[in-house]
Amino acid sequence: MLEFASTALMLLGAGFFFAGTVGLLRFPDVYSRLHALTKADNLGVGCIALALALQADGLASALKLLLIWPLALLASAAVSYAIAERAHALGTPLGDAGADDPP
């Protein structure tokens, strides 16, 4: 049962990562790519950390694995804010396919 739940969560996490990667490659501008990327970071990492925590031997390592999630959430939220803010400050337009080119 635990094994099944863990595998299901792992697959779900991989699904989020896949969707995030496709979005990163296909979306037209910085802002929507960030939107795709943070889904992978936030939900994908969460699912995979939870899946691994279910398989961990002992509460301590399970909690350590689960701690990765809020830390990744925090970092990804702050970093995507920083990227979006900088892109906006540099005047990166919406919907421009070449918008991710560095200044």
Partner: protein, 304 residues
């Protein structure tokens, strides 16, 4: 096919791809990002090779701090692309280095010779139970001492080359500062743990110091501390304290048969002392390489 073989194959291919992109790419920004990617993939490779100590150092220093330094250097250059001639000059150099490495690798014995056995035989006298720490701080302590001296010389070089006298403080947003307020205490905790763990498992002064330095870089980037203009006397003392402590412990041992042989009955305590001092000083030192070069942001000063 074996999953591990596939994973290693993908990892090796990714390493070659990232290295080629970083060396031969036209766009400098892209090259730096690929260099960071290379460092992270290399970290995974070290984990696969069962060398967690090197993996930690690679992640913290190779990918993290060096990446931050390169990105910072990028902000100071005007040319976004590297010239074709200069890029292709890299190729023969890279091929030569690779050929030399391959030749050395062929010359090495498959089994690592008598050294691992000698280390495990002497481990009870080293004062620690982790063989890597035993080698770094006891059996070959003078190597570590000299490495610290090299880093110190590098920082002195940077401090000598920097011109601005006024410390720079970056402007930043409350969101980033809030994130840093959560992350930095955890990084301090992780650094303390790495220092303590070094005695019996992967970790140690260099890794702990790299985490401390990363925390300082983070604080500087979100504008919570300013860069170094000219480092104050207190800062200089903190940088010198670790190497000086190391020397103070090494000096009374100088008359013995070999260099820096720690007396077995006090080795554990001495190693902890040396590592604690080195963690503090190396943390300031590695952070200083970044903080001394901190410039005001061209976007913030130019556009707002």
């Amino acid at each position: 096919m074996n999953v591990a073989v596939v994973f290693d194959g993908v990892l090796a291919a990714g390493l070659v791809w990232a290295a080629a992109g970083a060396l031969l790419g036209r766009d400098r920004y892209r090259a730096v990002i690929l260099f960071i990617v290379f460092g992270l993939l290399m970290t995974l490779a070290w984990v696969r090779l069962s060398a967690p100590d090197i993996a930690l150092a690679e992640a913290a220093i190779g990918a993290g701090l060096t990446g931050a330094l390169l990105l910072d250097a990028l902000g100071g250059t005007t040319a976004a692309t590297a010239g074709r001639a200069r890029r292709w000059m890299v190729l023969p150099l890279a091929v030569t280095v690779a050929a030399v490495l391959a030749a050395v690798l062929r010359a090495l014995p498959v089994r690592s010779g008598p050294l691992p056995d000698a280390v495990s035989a002497a481990l009870p006298e080293s004062g620690v139970t982790h063989p890597v720490t035993a080698v770094l701080l006891n059996f070959r302590g003078y190597d570590t001492l000299l490495e610290v001296a090299v880093l110190l010389a590098a920082l002195l070089g940077v401090l000598g080359a920097v011109r601005h006298a006024e410390p720079v403080r970056l402007a930043s947003a409350p969101v980033l500062q809030a994130a840093a307020r959560v992350l930095v205490p955890l990084m301090m905790l992780a650094a303390g743990y790495l220092l303590w763990a070094g005695a019996h498992r992967p970790g140690g002064a260099f890794q702990a110091a790299a985490v401390l330095a990363a925390a300082a870089v983070l604080l500087a980037l979100v504008g919570m501390i300013s860069g170094w203009g000219r480092p104050s006397l207190r800062l200089r003392c903190a940088i010198a304290a670790g190497p000086l402590l190391f020397l103070a412990i090494a000096a009374p041992l100088a008359g013995r048969a070999a260099l820096l042989v720690l007396p077995p009955q006090h080795a554990g305590l001495l190693i902890l002392l040396i590592e604690a001092g080195l963690t503090l000083s190396l943390g300031f030192l590695l952070a200083g390489l970044f903080l001394a070069l901190l410039r005001s942001d061209p976007v913030d000063t130019g556009k707002r």
